[in-house]
Symmetry: C2
DNA sequence: CCCGTTGATTGGAATGACTCAAGACTACAT
DNA sequence: ATGTAGTCTTGAGTCATTCCAATCAACGGG
């Protein structure tokens, strides 16, 4: 959980200008892993007051392009963002409630898996999603 | 590529009624692997004439629930459908043009991978997506 | 320390995939 | 043949996301 000053340093290091919405959004992503855009907007507004929805969308795209956050798009869900980047970890998602948890990659480097037949593609990443039922939903059933 | 009679048999075997839109949609999915809804609508209309877009959506959902087709939702793309079901294969997707190719699973049975830490989830499937650049886009660059 | 340029933010409107509701219709069983 | 559960159609609506033009602010050069 980086301090505001560290967040600013992260932005500067990525060649991005330091603005209030950007600091707020990046902090919110650190604070709430796997949050969707809507809840990030809410979190930022709690901190900063008024921020336009479009600013958050724009900032998230800029942060994603800069490699400071990672956008994940599980099937059947809206886009979500997380701050863990560069360590090529994977996710386990509950089919029932949509909860997401991180799963460390056994290999650690991309691409961690190799296709049996790559069809001539030059593969740079292997994305793994484990689908299942989380403990809470399992005991509720 | 099943004949119309075989398609009807597939539908009946899944406990679904045999209707013109259903036969048309299921044939179209066999004919065009990894097609999105829009191009399936187009393909069905070529065969049958007028079919409402909503009927296609509805049929695709029914076929998915019955396990006759599989819905895949690659990040940054609309939903796509394929007829290969039950063999737990994976996909390689071109970052540039979105082309999708099948990759046979080395294991063959679900779940083919096991998480290093399952967080208590009961995992029933491991979905793998390989991201890269297809031969055509690579030579065009 | 101030100022201008460049890039960010805002607000409004639009896009597009997908869903919902209500009624007409039809495949299939009795 | 006939009833009925399940399909198809039409039309409207939802929601995440994007586009555009105008305003505004960060930050490096003076």
């Amino acid at each position: 959980m980086p301090k505001p000053a560290e967040v600013e340093e992260l932005l500067r290091g990525a060649g991005l200008r330091v603005t209030r919405p950007r600091v707020g959004v990046l902090s919110a992503v650190y604070r709430r892993p796997h949050a969707d855009t809507d809840s990030i907007v809410g979190a930022v507004r709690e901190d900063l007051g008024e921020v336009s929805t479009q600013a958050v969308y724009d900032v998230l795209r800029a942060l994603t392009k800069a490699g400071l956050v990672r956008r994940i798009e599980p099937a059947g869900s809206v886009a979500r963002y997380e701050s863990r980047v560069g360590d090529n970890h994977h996710h386990v998602i509950c089919r029932s409630c949509g909860a997401i948890a991180d799963v460390d990659c056994a290999v650690g480097e991309v691409p961690c898996l190799h296709a049996s037949d790559d069809h001539g593609y030059e593969i740079d990443e292997a994305e793994v999603v484990f689908w299942g039922t989380c403990p809470a939903c399992r005991s509720a059933a």
